[in-house]
């Protein structure tokens, strides 16, 4: 069976008079039995995505895995179907209710497609029952694109990991022969349907959950002297941690012609960058954040040099609150630097130090918990719940707009990821990036290589250039790959 046949398999059959009558008259008709589908609420972080997405910022992110040979679409399709069976969450579609959006189960079958469009095209359309992810292939690349309301980077990577593993086992049968514990590979906790669809925000942060002693699961990394938050510490923390950034710089520029994302994939040996970070006594994330802040600052015209540059950074909550959810489970924090403050030299080393301090502060669990609790309280507020959904959309759009005024750019470091041992030899490189309203990057480490992947809705590439050149000046060998945002014009000489 080739892919065309597969695509037509999912299209509908002709309707005869008999099936027409059966549709209306037979109570147990198969189509109507399925009509009473399972559904569930969106989690706290997902709520915002369907409301604020637009044609540029589609809230879709993409993982790319490059394999040693060109992709065989038939085998990829097979691998996709196998993987899909392990991920009931990925069967969901999003629908609009009167008050909220909700996930609904579907029996759609995903079909792999050859990549022919720009990266991160929209996945969610109102009134359309579409899956919230897609799998594409191009040459030796497998892309997994996911709508952010469904999954965060960690959840989506689990899907990619299994997809690539299945594909490699099919394409290179000798690899699965080398794997001793195949069963173990497919019985990880995050393949359990109930674990996977767990709303961990609700589990950890909704009202009354923390107050019940003994019920609350012990957290990893919990400091020994940790005490649940009390009224007293609350007030004190508020003063200490709320850093107010003044005159925050906003990146502006000419957009790409048809609003497509400008993507830069850069790959480099992770050791060379780690060495640079260690020389400054900071972690990789801190180093990259500081470098990004500096790269942005160098594009600012001299008149506005003394602004602050703030970077929005997601924190994976699974590292503090044990969870196998494949849904969203992250919080964001704002890391910034105020340029031109008295008694301070704006050297790269100083930026590194200021950023490092903020990272240390950001993973303060009390602060994270307080923030998430208030977000959940807001969602569960009796005054908010009965608001008509289109009005909620509008409110969220406005809130999102004002929130964005406080953010210069965003980044995300996924850390180091791995594949099962037998598979690694066939996987070359992993890239990850996201649709964005402003220049941003996502970094991921695989084997010895770090890839830093920029996405931007703008034509201007100075920030990315500054960033890359700074690294190459420090003797990091870098390979760049970019998509075309100004493709050659199509021939219009039909006249």
């Amino acid at each position: 069976m080739n892919l065309d046949e597969l695509q037509s398999k999912t299209s509908r059959k002709r309707t005869g008079l008999r099936s027409f009558m059966r549709y209306w008259l037979k109570p147990g008709h198969s189509v109507q039995d399925k009509s009473r589908r399972n559904w569930m609420d969106l989690d706290n972080a997902s709520t915002i995505f369907p409301s604020v997405l637009n044609t540029t910022d589609t809230k879709v992110f993409r993982f790319t895995a490059t394999i040693i040979d060109n992709i065989d679409p038939i085998l990829l399709q097979k691998a996709l179907e196998q993987t899909y069976n392990h991920f009931p969450l990925y069967h969901s579609v999003i629908r609009r209710g009167f008050f909220w959006y909700y996930f609904e189960d579907s029996d759609l079958i995903p079909v792999v497609q050859k990549e022919t469009t720009a990266p991160c095209m929209p996945l969610y359309h109102y009134d359309q029952r579409n899956l919230l992810f897609r799998v594409l292939y191009y040459q030796n690349r497998i892309h997994l694109e996911v709508f952010h309301a469904l999954s965060d980077g960690t959840g989506a990577f689990w899907f990619l990991q299994l997809l690539v593993t299945n594909y490699i086992f099919l394409r290179y049968p000798e690899s699965s022969a080398r794997t001793r514990n195949l069963g173990e590979l497919f019985s990880l906790p995050h393949y359990e349907p109930n674990e996977q669809i767990d709303d961990s925000f609700a589990r950890y942060f909704s009202k009354n959950k923390r107050e019940t002693p003994g019920v609350f699961p012990k957290r990893k990394n919990e400091p020994a002297d940790y005490k649940p938050e009390t009224k007293k510490t609350k007030n004190k923390n508020n003063k200490e941690n709320k850093k107010i950034w003044k005159r925050i710089f906003q990146i502006r520029g000419r957009r790409t012609q048809d609003n497509r994302m400008q993507i830069f994939e850069t790959e480099m040996p992770v050791k060379s960058v780690l060495k640079l970070a260690k020389e400054r006594g900071v972690t990789l994330s801190v180093f990259l954040t500081a470098l990004f802040i500096e790269s942005i600052h160098r594009t600012i015209k001299s008149k506005r040099k003394n602004r602050s540059v703030t970077i929005s950074v997601p924190i994976n909550l699974r590292q503090f609150y044990p969870s196998n959810t494949a849904r969203n489970f992250f919080a964001t924090t704002l890391i910034g630097y105020q340029f031109g403050e008295a008694g301070q030299t704006d050297s790269f080393e100083n930026i590194c130090q200021v950023v490092a301090d903020q990272y240390a502060e950001a993973v303060n669990l009390e602060n994270i918990e307080k923030k998430l609790r208030s977000l959940i309280r807001l969602e569960k507020n009796v005054a908010i719940r009965p608001i008509f959904r289109p009005l909620k959309d509008l409110i969220l759009k406005i809130a999102n707009f004002f929130n964005n005024q406080g953010i210069t750019a965003a980044l995300s470091n996924m850390g180091k990821i791995t594949f099962p041992e037998a598979v690694e030899d066939y996987v070359e490189q992993i890239f990850v990036y996201t649709a964005a309203t402003r220049p941003q990057f996502a970094a991921i480490t695989h084997k010895d290589y770090l890839t830093i992947n920029f996405s931007s809705p703008y034509q201007n590439t100075d920030i990315q250039k500054n960033f890359v050149r700074r690294l190459t000046e420090l003797k990091v060998p870098i390979t760049v790959g970019a998509n075309q945002v100004n493709p050659p014009e199509e021939d219009n000489e039909i006249l």
Binding site: R12, T15, S19, Y23, P27, V31, Q32, K34, S35, R37, W39, D41, T55, T66, I68, N70, G97, F98, F99, W100, E104, E115, T116, T117, H125, D127, Q128, R129, Q139, N140, R141, Q257, D258, R260, F264, E265, P269, K271, K275, P386, E428, Q429, D448, Y449, T461, K465, V468, R469, T472, E473, P477, I478, T479, V480, G481, A482, N483, Q484, P487, P488
Partner: protein, 242 residues
């Protein structure tokens, strides 16, 4: 693989200009040459990466124009038509062409187009919206052309009947999940009861069209409540969930 001397980076594919700084690219320098594309760092050798790196990492995607461009053109054209008709109206006073007709005509057209475009993906919703919209427009037109009451007497009851049959046929033909349509079918049937008000308040001079419309609607509601009440309850709980 190309090379940018300004940025000192290798570039995948064969671009003539560096995507970062737009300078002309050059051949890979010898020490980074393709055969020795493995990278040495601190004396440690890294495996050759991207054996396919001579190819472009992304397909070339033609520019995609927004679908709303068409709507903008149509809006512009209808504005011009409106201006011309308005001009005719002022030049030839006795043409019988009233400014309100022109405005209402183009307005109706646009409302219908926008409704059809926006609701094109759910036939049940589409029929419900069109029924409400057209009914409203018909009453308006009746008013504009000196009230005869034909809209309430004939047009709306007929429209309701047609809508009920249309939704029945279309949904049964598409054979998609009934849950997606059932509330819209219910809503159309409830609108079909509105002619009852016409009779009660004596707004209509011929009764049978309203009676037919009401009977059809009652039949439909009885069918829904008798055979599909569980589905209806499920859909309402799901959509009205707070």
């Amino acid at each position: 693989m190309r090379y940018c001397k300004e940025c000192s980076v290798k570039i995948k594919g064969n671009p003539t200009n560096c995507p970062l700084c737009k300078h002309h690219t050059s051949e890979l320098p010898l020490h980074l040459g393709s055969l020795e594309s493995s990278v040495f760092f601190n004396g440690q050798k890294f495996l050759p990466k991207n054996r396919e790196s001579d190819k472009d990492p992304f397909p070339i995607v033609q520019l995609r124009y927004k679908q709303y461009t068409l709507l903008k053109v149509l809006l512009f054209v209808s504005f011009i038509i409106y201006s011309i008709l308005l001009l005719i109206h002022f030049l030839f006073r006795d043409s019988g062409l009233r400014a309100s007709y022109i405005f209402a005509g183009l307005g109706s057209l646009w409302l219908l187009v926008l409704t059809i475009v926006r609701k094109r993906r759910n036939v049940g919703k589409s029929i419900l919206y069109l029924l409400s919209l057209i009914s409203g427009l018909l009453v308006l037109w009746d008013k504009l052309t000196i009230w005869h009451g034909w809209s309430l007497t004939y047009a709306i009851p007929a429209l309701v009947g047609i809508a009920l049959l249309a939704i029945l046929i279309a949904v049964g033909y598409i054979q998609q999940e009934l849950g997606d349509y059932i509330l819209y079918i219910g809503a159309v049937a409830i609108i079909g009861l509105v002619p009852l008000l016409f009779i009660i308040f004596g707004w209509v001079y011929v009764l049978w069209p309203s009676i037919v419309s009401i009977s059809l609607s009652i039949l439909m509601l009885v069918y829904l409540l008798a055979f599909r009440h569980r589905l209806i309850a499920h859909e309402i709980v799901k959509r009205m969930h707070m």
